[in-house]
Symmetry: C2
Subunit: 83 residues, 2 copies
């Protein structure tokens, strides 16, 4: 069965996010002045061919821990759904 994992990898709360700060400045220059905070991370879509939902979730977590996220500076969250 085909499953799709939607993964978000974001900088941890304590970590400075200069890219986010730059975008906040850009928004202010566009006239959007009521933005309190911007944080920027990565969104990853993983398409997998596995037997069931549990296997898909396990594989997504493994991929996050081993390759997609730097756990020192980033957190990951994901959802898995059948394609």
């Amino acid at each position: 069965m085909k499953f799709i994992a939607e993964i978000d990898v974001m900088p941890q709360k304590e970590i400075l996010d200069p890219q986010g700060k730059a975008v906040m400045l850009g928004l202010k220059n566009l006239g959007i002045r009521n933005v309190a905070d911007v944080r920027i991370g990565r969104h990853i879509t993983l398409e997998m061919e596995v037997d069931n939902q549990a296997a898909a979730e396990e594989e997504a977590a493994f991929a996050c821990q081993k390759l997609l996220a730097n756990l020192i500076m980033e957190d990951y969250t994901f959802t898995v759904r059948p394609a």
Copy 2:
């Protein structure tokens, strides 16, 4: 009221995603061989101080169109929730 917009900006389906292809190769090297496709985009968290949900959604869409997404090559989706 405080609202949070969770925005995903992804390369369009027709557009090659070399970063995704590189990650797919990395996953195969890690022993995950049943991944059919990987696509990588950006995840942006926008914290806004606006009156209501409709205003928050309007502002998030404006930010996506004007700054966050390159509409020639990228698509955006977002959800808005009260903080």
